[in-house]
Amino acid sequence: MKVLLVGVGGVGEATAVMANTRPWLEKMVLADYRLDRAKTVQTKLGDSERFPVEQLDAGNVDHIIRTARNHQVELILNAVNVDFVPPLFEAAYQAGCTYMDMAMNGLGAKMGKDEFAAHDKWVEKGLLAIRGTGADPGMSDVFARYACDYLFDEIEEIGVRDGATLEIEGVPFASTFSISDTLEECTVPPIVYEEGKGIFSVEPFSEPELFEFPEGIGPLECVNVEHEEVVLIPRWIKTKRVTFKYALDKDFINVMQVLAMLGLNSKEPIEVKGVRVAPADVVAACLPAPAALGDRMRGKTCVGTWVKGAKDGKSRQVYLYQSTDHAFCMEKYGCQAVSWQTGVNPVIVMELLAEGKWQGRGVLACEAFDAAPYMAKMADFDLPYGILEM
């Protein structure tokens, strides 16, 4: 398989590192706006033939198509921030490539709407797009599908819960994930799905709940955050309610609120002393890059799907999860835990596509496919899952 990886930040690097261990991967083009960054990752991989680098403007459809054609890739994996979904999605369609990403664009209930609207077009052209193939969304959606097919007769509620004990030494504030995406998801109204009501928005950071995370992480307060699963899961899985809650500590919430109050979360460029710049980009530039935090981090991160329903006439609750230890992925793969836990998942998806275990046409997401072969591969990718009866 030949792949064009667009964006070689923390997540893109993890994807490339894992893909490097897979024999089916013929070539993965490392494309980034900053060529230096792509070269750094290339050096780490130590195989410049299999991992060529390209300078790429992910906002330029023609440039993406040209790069895809030059390298004769069959798949474009989007690992840049969500603003670039429309050009990358369009370029994949025009270049006749499979498209995959790890986050969806669009506000609230409209998340992913434009791309899903192109479903028939993609089916006609015999092409496949899989939205949201990271950890959450992605693995969390696979868990939801698995619960639906194998663990429950009937599902009442599906709640994705994401929490971590990660600590970063020596910096007063850092985001372990793209601050631009974090700002976006934490400062727009969260969404909830309910049968009959559809998708509706609620207050930011609302409905705090104490969730007990496994693997020694322990109880953490989780709050509603806007996330893709709330849109994706009800499209394929029958349930009465879907939520997404993220364990955010009070200091982090305060930072997000202050930035939103001052308008510093805005992605629209403003005029500052003669130059035009987006405040959110300035915030990102002030903070350490998530990819560079590896050496100073410690702890574990956990992503999982809490399913409530009934099996054989009895009510049942399970939490399907994946927990990654930072020290482990730093030592074995040289990647920080959050980026790594996200970046490995699209490699599993690509392997399932390469082996023909996942097949499809049109614009789909992970819960549209059989979860069993995915989960069977997780341990082999050093991404073992756990199932906890609750």
Binding site: P172, L259, K273, R276, V277, A284
Partner: protein, 401 residues
């Protein structure tokens, strides 16, 4: 008198508006980096001849000098962010004209012990050049707004007329201003507010000299007059602490500001994230200072007047002895936003800052204040200044405590 005003922001506009009825100001050049802004102020004044506009980049000293020469001004009035003070100050010296500002050259925290020791202090750059100014027979009147400025005049007045002996002089600033329709909007230049609030606050004591503390330290509840009431105030770095001990005999000088929890929270967050940084950083290939971005995101305080309501109070709390008895007074000035809007078309905070440099120009022009070198407001006789405050629309108050 001909004046070059560098900076036509909220304060610059208010100075110009108050100048309009004062015929002894022959010409006032309004120079700004944003020429449109200068033109907008000019249009409100309705006298293009007397108030010409010019583009200026205050970071370019030769440009300031050029404009001063072009118009043959007698005084350069600095009304931009204090980051440009050195250039504007030196430009006045080179051209050979008097200089005034409302904030002094910036401090630099001690590299090893920022929250205990002072290092480069506010105004150091300017005071080091006092001798040269004196020799050339020029006057640089520094720190003459309301705070610093009126607050310093009060300190001198207390020494000359109210006390035999002074133990402590504490500037206390508080307001009950509300800005409608904004969750967060500073009523003064956010650039300057970040600078003064996040720098280590400075305190002066007779035995210790100048030293610093942690930002927002020593909170105290102060009761402000005219219905403003009790407000928690905290230590903030401010010019009065540098100015007053040079001319007024006392044992201790502090400055405390009623910032409010929300404001302090915002400032702490900006600092933690590095968004207070005034140095340009690289953002996707563009060089920009994060602090300028914060300022650009927030509403311009010059345009908030009609959405504001309430009062702001600036004053000087003096503790000491008179006729062998303990005495405490608070000398203050309270500006009401509705009144300032009605009279000047300017919001209270900028109007209150703006009247004092104009009043000082009046005293210098008419020979009531004379001096050469780099001087603070407390080096002059406070009486003529305080006598004129009511006439300028900003009367003083004195409260025994």
């Amino acid at each position: 008198m001909k004046v070059l005003v560098v900076g036509a922001g909220g304060v610059g506009e208010a100075i110009a508006r108050m100048t309009k009825p004062r015929a002894w100001v022959e010409q006032m050049v309004l120079a700004d980096y944003n020429l449109e802004r200068a033109k907008e102020v000019q249009a409100k004044l309705g006298d293009d001849q007397r108030f010409p506009v010019e583009f200026i980049d205050a970071s370019k000293q030769e440009m300031v000098e050029e404009l001063a020469r072009k118009y043959g001004v007698n005084l350069i009035m600095n009304a931009v962010d204090p980051v440009y003070n050195e250039k504007v100050f030196d430009a006045a010296f080179n051209v050979g004209v008097n200089y005034m500002d409302m904030a002094m050259t910036l401090s630099r925290p001690h590299p090893e012990d920022p929250f205990n020791k002072s290092y480069v202090k506010l105004g150091d750059y300017q005071f080091e050049k006092s001798k040269q100014w004196e020799e050339r027979g020029l006057l640089a009147l520094v720190g003459l707004g309301v705070e610093p400025g009126v607050a310093d005049v009060y300190a001198r007045y207390a020494q000359d007329h109210l006390f035999d002996e002074i133990d402590e002089i504490g500037i206390r600033d508080g307001a009950n201003l509300v800005i409608e329709g904004y969750e967060f909007a500073p009523n003064f230049s956010i650039w300057t507010t970040i600078e003064e609030c996040l720098n280590p606050p400075v305190i002066w004591e007779q035995d210790k000299g100048w030293f610093t503390t942690e930002p927002f330290s020593e909170p105290e509840v102060f009761e402000f007059p005219d219905g403003i009431g009790k407000i928690e105030v905290v230590n903030v770095e401010h010019e009065e602490v540098l100015l007053i001990p040079r001319w007024v005999k006392t044992k201790r000088v502090t400055f405390k500001y009623g910032l409010g929890d929300q404001f302090i929270g915002v400032l702490k967050t900006l600092k933690m994230l590095g968004l207070d940084n005034k140095e340009p950083i690289n953002v996707k290939g563009i060089k920009v200072a994060p602090r300028d971005v914060v300022a650009a995101c927030l509403p311009n305080p010059a345009y908030l007047g009609d959405k504001m309501s309430g009062k702001t109070c600036a004053g000087t709390w003096v503790k000491g002895k008179k006729d062998g008895k303990e005495k405490q007074v608070y000398l203050y000035q309270v500006a009401d936003n509705a009144e300032c809007m009605k009279t000047w078309g300017c919001q209270a905070v900028v109007a209150q800052v703006a009247f004092s440099p104009l009043l000082a120009m009046d005293l210098v022009e008419h020979g009531q204040w004379k001096g050469v070198g780099v001087l603070g407001p407390e080096s002059f006789d406070p009486l003529p200044f305080m006598d004129k405050m009511a006439e300028y629309g900003f009367p003083y108050g004195i409260k025994e405590m």
